[in-house]
C-alpha cells in the first residue's frame, strides 16, 4: 500500500471520527438547525416594518400666530410617525410629562416668530426628547426637519391662497386696462389727443394696481416655471412684462412718435395685458398646495424584487451562522485533541499535519454543507426568502464561506490552550462580524482603514454574494468570490504551519 493511500486512510480517520462525534450530539445538531430557523421565523412574523410613532405635545406661546388646528395639520402632514398629543402653554409641565414617559416628544413654538422673521432671522421650533439611542436621536432630528418643512409649506400655502384671492381683483383691473387701451387706440386713430392722454392716465393707474399684485402672485408661478427647466425659464417673466407695459405707457405721450408707432406700442401693450391675464388665470387654476410644493418624489427599483426586511437579513444570518458554526467547531476541534491527549498519540504516529488538517477540513465542510442545505431549504421553502439565482453558485459561495471560516477556526484552535479560550476567541470573531461585516450597518458607514477587518471576515463576502445571487438573481461577483477563496487558502496555509509545529515539533 503506497504512502499516498495511507495518507488518505489517515485523513479519512478524522472524517469518520468528527462526523461520529457530532452525530453523537443530536441536541447540538438540532439546535444548530432549528435555532437560527426559529429566530428568523419569529423575526419574520414579528417584525413590523413601520417607523416608531412619537406622541407629540406642543407648547404654544402666548398670542401665538399659529392655531392648534394648523399645528395638528402640520403634524398630520409629516405622516404616521407623529401623533398629536395636545397643546399646552406650560413648558415645565410639558417637560415633566416627557420625563414621565407620558409623551415622547415636546415641540416648543418659537417666541414671537413674526418679530424674529421681520428681523431677518429664522424662528426656531425646539424639539425636546429623552432618547439616548443615537439612531432614535437621528430619527427625531429628521422628523423635526420634516415638521418644520411642513410648517413652512403651510405658511407658503396660506400665502398662495391669499395671492389667488387677490388675483380675482387683479383680473378686474386687467379688464379695465384692456378697456382703456381699446379706447386709447380709438383716440389715437381718430387723433383725439385729449382722450388719448386721459386714457393713458387711467391705464397707468390700472397697470400700477396690477403690478402690485402680479409681482407676488405671478412671481410664485414664475419661480415654479424657472424650477421646471430651460424651456419654461425662457418665457418672459411677469415682472418684465409689467416693466414693458409701464415703459410703453409712459412713452405713448412722447411727441416724436408717429401715429403708427403709437398704435404699434398699443398693440404690444394689448398683447402684454392679454399675456398677464392668461398667466393670472393659470395661477388661479393651480392648487395652492401644488404651488408651494410643486414637486414630490417617487422611487422605483430596477431590481427584480423588493425583499422584506426579514428576507433581506435572512441571507446575512445564514452567512453569519455558517461562519460561526465553522469557526466554533474548528476552534474547539484541535484544542480538544490537545486536552484529551490525543495530540501525544499523533506525534508518535505517522500522521502528518496536512493529513490531520485535510481530514478535519473535509469533515466539517461536509457537516457544514448539510446544515447549510437544511437551513437554506427552510429559509427558501418555509420562510419564502426569494431565490432568483443559480443554486450551484449559491452552493459555491456557501462552500467558500465554510472553507474560509474553518481556516479562522483552526488557527484559533491551535493557538488556544483551553476550550474556554477557543470559545472566547470565537465569540470575538462573531462580535466583529456583527459590527464589521455589514450585517447591521452598511460597509459604507465604516472608516476605510477599519474596513480591513471587514474584508478579513468570511461573513462580509458571504452576505454580499448570497444576497446578489438570491435576491438579485445575479451571477456571483467573481472577484469577491476569488478573494474569499484566497482568504481561505491563506488561512489554511497558516493553520497548516501552526499544526505542523504542534504535531511535529517536540516540546
Amino acid at each position: 500500500m503506497g504512502n499516498f493511500f495511507r495518507g488518505i486512510v489517515r485523513s479519512s480517520a478524522f472524517i469518520r471520527k468528527e462526523i461520529f462525534e457530532i452525530l453523537r450530539q443530536p441536541r447540538l445538531v438540532a439546535t444548530l438547525v432549528l435555532g437560527p430557523f426559529l429566530i428568523l421565523f419569529i423575526f419574520g412574523i414579528g417584525y413590523r416594518d413601520q417607523p416608531t410613532v412619537l406622541r407629540t405635545l406642543f407648547v404654544a406661546q402666548p398670542n401665538s400666530a399659529i392655531s392648534p388646528q394648523q399645528i395638528e395639520t402640520s403634524v398630520k402632514s409629516v405622516g404616521s410617525q407623529l401623533t398629536y398629543a395636545g397643546s399646552t402653554a406650560n413648558l415645565d409641565d410639558a417637560l415633566n410629562r416627557l420625563r414621565h414617559g407620558q409623551v415622547d416628544l415636546v415641540v416648543v413654538e418659537p417666541v414671537d416668530a413674526v418679530s424674529t422673521i421681520k428681523s431677518n432671522q429664522q424662528a426656531v421650533f425646539t424639539f425636546y426628547h429623552e432618547e439616548i439611542d443615537p439612531v432614535q436621536v437621528t430619527y427625531i432630528s429628521y422628523l423635526g426637519w420634516l415638521f418644520v418643512g411642513e410648517v413652512n409649506q403651510e405658511v407658503l400655502r396660506a400665502f398662495a391662497v391669499q395671492g389667488q384671492k387677490e388675483a380675482v381683483n387683479l383680473h378686474a383691473s386687467l379688464q379695465d386696462a384692456h378697456q382703456n387701451l381699446s379706447d386709447m387706440r380709438q383716440a389715437v386713430q381718430s387723433g383725439d389727443q385729449v382722450v388719448a392722454q386721459q386714457k393713458q392716465q387711467q391705464l397707468i393707474g390700472n397697470v400700477d394696481a396690477v403690478s402690485l399684485g402680479v409681482a407676488t402672485s405671478l412671481g410664485l408661478l414664475d419661480s415654479l416655471k424657472q424650477a421646471q427647466g430651460t424651456a419654461a425659464a425662457n418665457a418672459n417673466p411677469p415682472q418684465n412684462t409689467l416693466t414693458d407695459l409701464q415703459q410703453n405707457i409712459s412713452q405713448l405721450g412722447t411727441s416724436t412718435d408717429t401715429t403708427d408707432q403709437r398704435l404699434a406700442r398699443i398693440d404690444k401693450m394689448d398683447k402684454d395685458l392679454t399675456d398677464l391675464d392668461a398667466q393670472l388665470t393659470e395661477f388661479k387654476s393651480i392648487d395652492p398646495s401644488i404651488i408651494v410644493s410643486p414637486f414630490r418624489n417617487k422611487t422605483k427599483s430596477i431590481a427584480n424584487i423588493q425583499p422584506t426586511t426579514a428576507e433581506f437579513f435572512a441571507l446575512a444570518v445564514l452567512a453569519l451562522l455558517l461562519q460561526h458554526l465553522a469557526v466554533t467547531f474548528a476552534a474547539l476541534s484541535i484544542v480538544r485533541e490537545r486536552n484529551v491527549g490525543t495530540m501525544e498519540l499523533f506525534r508518535v504516529s505517522p500522521l502528518s499535519a496536512a493529513e490531520a488538517l485535510i481530514g478535519k477540513y473535509l469533515s466539517y465542510m461536509l457537516f457544514g454543507s448539510v446544515i447549510a442545505a437544511i437551513l437554506s431549504a427552510l429559509l427558501i421553502f418555509t420562510l419564502h426568502v426569494p431565490m432568483l439565482g443559480n443554486w450551484w453558485y449559491f452552493a459555491l459561495v456557501i462552500a467558500a464561506v465554510l472553507f474560509s471560516s474553518l481556516g479562522i477556526g483552526f488557527a484559533i484552535s491551535i493557538i488556544s490552550q483551553t476550550d474556554s479560550q477557543a470559545v472566547q476567541y470565537s465569540m470575538i470573531i462573531l462580535l466583529a462580524s456583527v459590527f464589521f461585516s455589514g450585517f447591521i450597518m452598511s460597509l459604507d458607514m465604516l472608516w476605510a482603514p477599519v474596513k480591513v477587518i471587514s474584508w478579513l471576515l468570511p461573513t462580509t463576502y458571504g452576505t454580499l454574494l448570497l444576497r446578489n445571487i438570491a435576491l438579485r438573481g445575479a451571477d456571483p461577483n467573481w472577484g469577491l468570490l476569488a478573494a474569499l477563496i484566497a482568504l481561505g487558502l491563506v488561512l489554511m496555509l497558516i493553520s497548516w504551519q501552526l499544526m505542523r509545529r504542534l504535531i511535529t515539533t517536540s516540546e
Binding site: 493511500f5 486512510v9 480517520a13 484529551v340 490525543t342 506525534r347
Partner: protein
C-alpha cells in the same frame, strides 16, 4: 550480554549492547530549570522486554516521551531504530506503538470506532476488520465493542488503549503503565502476550507501577528522582539490592550464638544475617550457586544437621524498597 555496572561514584555507566534498538546517552530533560530526567544512559537490545520501574514522579513517562519524540532532550542523545526521534520519518513512526499513561482516546466514540481510528492513524488497509476483532478479543473487549468509551470502566479503557497500541503490529512498543487498573488474571495474560510478542522479535519498553512485574522483563532499569540508578536483569538487581544472593538455611536444632558468629565469619557470607525462626536463618552470600556447597561443608564441620538450604528470591517490592533505601542512604 554485557550490562551496566555501577562505578565508584555510583553513577551507572553505559556499556554498549550489541544490536540495540534504543540507545540513550546522557539523556537530560529540564522543565524550567528543574530536572525531570538527568544524565540517563542505557541501551535496549532488540527483541527484548525492557522494564522501567521507579516511584511516581521519578521521570519514567518523561523518558518514554523522550524516546518517542514527544519531547526533545535538553541535553544528551537518543537513538531509536538508528534515528533521533525528532527526525523520524512516517515509515519509522509506523514501526512504533505507543500507549500513553492516561486514556487518550475519544469518549464519545465506541470501543470499535476508537480502535478503528487508531488503525487508520497507522494507515492500515480497508480490510482490517479481522485484525480489529482479534485485538479486541485479546483485551477481552470484543463483546463491548458497541459501547461508548466514556461508558466503560477505567480498566477497560486501559485495555482499549493497549489494543489501539498493538493493532498495527508495531516493531517497537512503548507501554506506559499498561497494567495499571487491570485485574491480576488479565495482567498475567498481558504479560504472556508481551512475551509472545518478544518471541516474534518485537521489542517492548514498558514502565510499570507493579514492581513485581519486573521479573517478567529481560532487563530492568530503576529510576528515581530523574536519575537511572541501575540497569540489570531482575536477578542482577536483587543481587545488587542486598549485596549478594539470599539463602534460607534451616537446621534440625536451634542456632546458638557461637554457631551464628562462626557462620558470619565465613568469607563468602555477608555481615547481615536475619533469623527467620529458632532453627532458621536467612543469610546473604556472594553467589548462591557456588557458595551453597561451602555452606554445607561448614555445617558438617560444626556438626549441624541441615534440613534445607535454598536460595530465597525476595519479592521485587522488597528489592525495590531496599534499593530506594540505599539510594536515600547514599544521598
Amino acid at each position: 550480554m554485557t550490562l551496566i555496572s555501577p562505578t565508584e561514584t555510583g553513577q551507572p555507566q553505559p556499556v554498549l549492547v550489541k544490536d540495540s534498538i534504543i540507545s540513550a546517552r546522557h539523556l537530560t530533560k529540564k522543565f524550567g530549570g528543574e530536572f525531570a530526567v538527568e544524565d540517563v544512559s542505557f541501551d535496549v537490545p532488540r527483541a527484548s522486554i525492557f522494564g522501567f520501574i521507579g516511584p511516581s514522579g521519578s521521570g519514567k513517562t518523561t523518558t518514554i516521551r523522550l524516546l518517542t519524540g514527544v519531547y526533545t532532550p535538553s541535553e544528551g542523545d537518543v537513538s531509536v531504530i538508528d534515528r533521533s526521534p525528532a527526525h523520524f520519518s512516517q515509515r519509522e513512526r509506523a514501526l512504533l506503538g505507543y500507549m500513553p499513561q492516561l486514556f487518550v482516546l475519544y469518549p464519545t466514540l465506541t470501543v470499535w470506532e476508537n480502535l478503528n481510528f487508531a488503525a487508520s492513524l497507522y494507515g492500515m488497509g480497508l480490510f482490517r476488520g479481522k485484525r480489529l476483532a482479534e485485538a479486541l478479543k485479546f483485551v477481552e473487549l470484543y463483546d463491548h465493542r458497541g459501547k461508548l468509551a466514556r461508558n466503560i470502566s477505567g480498566g477497560m479503557q486501559r485495555r482499549l488503549s493497549l489494543a489501539a497500541t498493538l493493532v498495527h503490529d508495531p516493531q517497537l512498543i512503548f507501554l506506559d503503565e499498561p497494567t495499571a487498573g487491570i485485574d491480576p488474571v488479565l495482567r498475567r495474560k498481558f504479560w504472556d502476550h508481551f512475551r509472545e510478542l518478544k518471541a516474534q522479535g518485537r521489542t517492548i519498553f514498558i514502565t510499570t507501577q507493579y514492581v513485581s512485574e519486573a521479573d517478567n522483563c529481560d532487563l530492568v532499569g530503576v529510576q528515581n528522582n530523574g536519575r537511572l540508578l541501575l540497569v540489570d536483569t531482575p536477578q542482577g538487581i536483587r543481587h545488587r539490592a542486598y549485596g549478594g544472593d539470599m539463602v534460607d538455611f534451616r537446621t534440625d536444632q536451634p542456632f546458638d550464638f557461637e554457631a551464628e558468629a562462626s557462620l558470619r565469619s565465613l568469607p563468602f557470607v555477608r555481615a547481615k544475617t536475619v533469623r527467620t525462626g529458632p532453627d532458621s536463618m536467612r543469610i546473604i552470600v556472594n553467589q548462591a550457586s557456588s557458595d551453597t556447597p561451602q555452606l554445607m561443608a561448614w555445617a558438617q564441620r560444626q556438626n549441624i544437621q541441615v534440613k534445607t538450604v535454598e536460595e530465597y528470591m525476595p519479592p521485587f517490592e522488597d528489592v525495590f524498597v531496599e534499593l530506594m533505601r540505599t539510594e536515600v542512604k547514599n544521598g
